[in-house]
């Protein structure tokens, strides 16, 4: 089964072959490395850029303006902060020109904790990014969605931000990407041999791509990954699989949890979220960005404003500690961003609250 890095790579290949994707670039994105997380190995339109994040975003904007489809990578979202005004401009081009220009371009960047990345390789970007209008923002939590969301971005006429949860890039999926080899250990090995660059000399290596098919996850559509009765958890990215695990764990205690994977942060699927909350009457939003002016706070606000009388418990946000970064030591990282035990505790707390 493909892992998320392979799934994104296959989506980019599909884009090159079928969706007019012509430039994939960023720091160390081209050969020989193919990206610090191997996401861009073996693709035909990749190239290495100067070490200049502002240049990367500016180049993507100009390419978008020229109608030349690109995916630009910022190596870690920790280093995207010096491009904020350019991200604002990209999101603004259509609006500021009253519809004269649009800006088809995709930026991808790894986000979040989970790989012991310490202070400068563990930041999240969803809170900051969702504050910038004009972008569509996606964040997969499994390989199949990673594939489908990338194709959706490549088909969209607007700037799209593709947040890659770095803790999940090596996790294998449970569903087959249309066209990938069989879901067996044999198929897994086969895929690796086909599309993972070998260690050592790669100068003669060429990827052998499976016959991939179109598969799009519509931007703005969430997924219900667990049906439940007593409580809704809304999450995305790294914390989504943890939410599912937590739901499975508390099921034994008789708490039935519905889990929604947002998949798209903007525009988001309020219909699915609100219907679920109306049903369960209790909600926990979970993400790992820092908790103050967190995207989840917006969702809580909307929950309170629109669903107040449907609630049986206070809506809760479980998010990262409001500190400058994530400390390296295991104890520090575990205490800084939501982990499985935090989610389980939060479920018990909210489930137990009296109406």
């Amino acid at each position: 089964m493909a892992n998320m890095a392979q799934a994104i790579r296959m989506a980019l290949h599909y884009g090159e072959e079928n969706l007019g994707l012509k430039e994939i670039f960023g720091e160390d994105v081209g050969p020989p490395l193919g990206g610090v997380f191997t996401v861009t190995q073996g693709l035909k339109t990749t190239w290495n850029s100067p070490l200049d994040e502002r240049g990367i975003i500016g180049a993507a904007m100009g390419l978008g303006a020229a109608g030349r489809r690109c995916v630009a990578e910022v190596q870690f979202c920790d280093y995207i902060y010096n491009t904020i005004d350019l991200l604002k401009l990209a999101g603004m081009q259509s609006w500021a020109s009253n519809g004269d220009w649009n800006m088809p371009m995709t930026v991808m960047t790894p986000v979040g904790s989970g790989i012991r990345g310490s202070i400068y390789h563990s930041h999240s970007f969803d809170a900051t990014m969702t504050h910038i209008p004009g972008w569509k923002i996606v964040m997969p939590s499994n390989p199949l969605d990673a594939y489908g969301l990338m194709l959706a971005c490549l088909k969209d006429p607007n700037p799209t931000m593709y947040l890659k949860p770095k803790a999940l890039l090596r996790i294998r999926g449970q569903e087959k990407i249309p066209g990938e080899p069989d879901l067996t250990p044999e198929g897994e090995k086969q895929l690796k041999e086909m599309i993972d660059a070998p260690l050592g000399d790669r100068s003669k290596w060429k990827a052998r791509w499976p016959q991939l098919e179109d598969y799009t996850v519509e931007i703005g559509k969430a997924a219900k990954v667990r049906e439940g009765e007593h409580l809704t958890i809304v999450s995305y990215g790294r914390t989504l699989p943890l939410a599912v695990q937590a739901a499975d764990q508390v099921a034994a205690e008789g708490i039935s949890v519905e889990v929604i994977d947002m998949r798209t942060l903007w525009p988001y699927d309020w219909q699915m979220i609100s219907e679920s909350i109306r049903k369960t009457r209790r909600v926990i939003y979970v993400n790992e960005d820092t908790e103050v002016t967190n995207f989840g706070e917006h969702l809580v606000r909307r929950t309170v404003e629109e669903l107040f009388y449907d609630l049986e418990a206070r809506p809760k946000l479980l998010a990262g500690a409001f500190i400058p970064g994530i400390g390296l030591a295991d104890t520090l990282e575990m205490a800084s961003a939501p982990q499985l035990n935090h989610i389980v505790d939060a479920i018990r707390e909210v489930a137990a609250e009296r109406a």
Partner: protein
């Protein structure tokens, strides 16, 4: 322009803002006395027809900017910024553009002093007047943006932004598209001298000279020796901004942008080189800033900078191409036309409040979430 500038505008209406002292003046910027009658006949290299066309556009551009300033002063607009003093460079530039849509044509990543370029390309003065008055019919931003923030997709003119220097970043991208797709199209980017301190300017130099991936970009700096109020010589130690090109083996020149023919031929040479060699070229054009930085500093005529239009008119008269009377008549004609336009625009409606969400996304109308 930022909020503080809008506020500056308001406060400067009430309080006296001290006039900053001038940096030592470059020779070409020093005001010259009109000496047409006594000096020997001026020799032009361009044909009379071309000179007359350039003059016409220079006057049109100047009168437009002066109309916009008047509109500001009469409260028919909240803020003015523009390009009076840059006409001798901007008109020849606009006339040299390969105009059209897509990578086979020139892309323009401009700053807010570029009305001359756009008028020379064929833009309508009334479009600028509409944007100044922020009426719904403003074709550049639908009443959303300041004056001189044009956007013309059909001519590859990207939306002009107030953010200093970011245009040197977006220029990289259209440059890459043109490098890949071949042909004759090039990318033009312009901006002021103070902005070159931003990293974005350096980005443009680095990205346009990656080995074997050079980009067809005309990198222009219009050097008026000022930021808003900060003199260039208090912040910049380099002898010429154009010298920075040398480290990247970019061909470059510093020219007197107040001289029509010097500008014209420098631009043509640069463009010919870029179209053929598919490599960048830098022009630093020394220009004047005739009405200060913007309305934030009062938008009043300064008398200690040379006026490229006066200089050119002296030359035209001396060469016997146009008489003072003809030139005065032309100015009057445009004055009347643009006054009429401003009156017309004054009656036009502002954008409807219900449109605030329109176009946040491509093709989208109304609230989107």
């Amino acid at each position: 322009m930022t909020m503080e500038e809008t506020q500056l505008k308001r406060s400067s209406a009430q309080t006296h803002t001290p006039k900053p002292s001038r940096p030592p003046m470059a020779a070409h910027l020093a005001p010259t006395k009109a000496k047409a009658a006594s000096s020997p006949k001026h020799q032009f290299r361009l044909a009379p027809q071309q000179l007359i066309q350039i003059h016409d556009l220079m006057v049109k551009s100047r009168v437009l900017e002066e109309r916009l300033i008047r509109m500001y002063k009469q409260s028919d607009g909240y803020f003015w910024i523009g390009g009076p003093g840059e006409e001798a460079f901007n008109i020849p530039l606009g006339l040299s553009v390969k105009k059209g849509q897509g990578p086979q044509f020139d892309y323009l990543h401009l700053h807010y002093r570029s009305s001359g370029i756009l008028l020379a390309m064929g833009a309508e003065p009334i479009s600028f007047i509409r944007q100044m008055k922020n009426v719904a019919s403003d074709p550049y931003s639908g009443g959303r943006n300041f004056a001189n923030h044009a956007s013309i997709k059909a001519w590859n003119v990207l939306p002009i932004t107030s953010t200093i220097e970011t245009q040197y970043q977006t220029a990289i991208g259209t440059g890459i598209a043109q490098m890949r797709e071949g042909g004759q199209g090039l990318t033009i980017v312009n901006g002021g001298d103070a902005g070159t301190a931003e990293g974005d300017f350096a980005s443009c130099l680095v990205w346009s000279t990656r080995p074997n991936e050079e980009l067809p970009i005309l990198i222009i700096v219009t050097n008026n020796e000022w930021g808003i109020s900060t003199p260039a010589n208090t912040q910049h130690g380099e002898s010429h901004i154009a010298d920075r090109a040398r480290a990247f083996n970019i061909k470059s020149r510093t020219i007197n942008g107040n001289d029509v023919e010097e500008s014209f031929f420098a631009i043509r040479e640069a463009m010919d080189y870029i179209r053929k060699e598919r490599k960048p070229y830098m022009i630093e054009a020394r220009v004047s800033r005739l009405y200060g930085h913007s309305s934030a500093s009062g938008a009043n005529l300064v008398t200690n900078e040379s006026d490229p239009l006066t200089l050119f008119e002296d030359q035209l008269e001396s060469a016997g191409i146009l008489s003072k009377q003809e030139m005065a008549d032309l100015r009057e004609k445009y004055n009347t036309e643009m006054l009429e336009m401003a009156k017309r625009v004054k009656e036009e409606p502002l954008p409807d409040a219900s449109t605030i969400y329109d176009h946040v996304y491509a093709g989208q109308k109304g609230k989107y979430w």
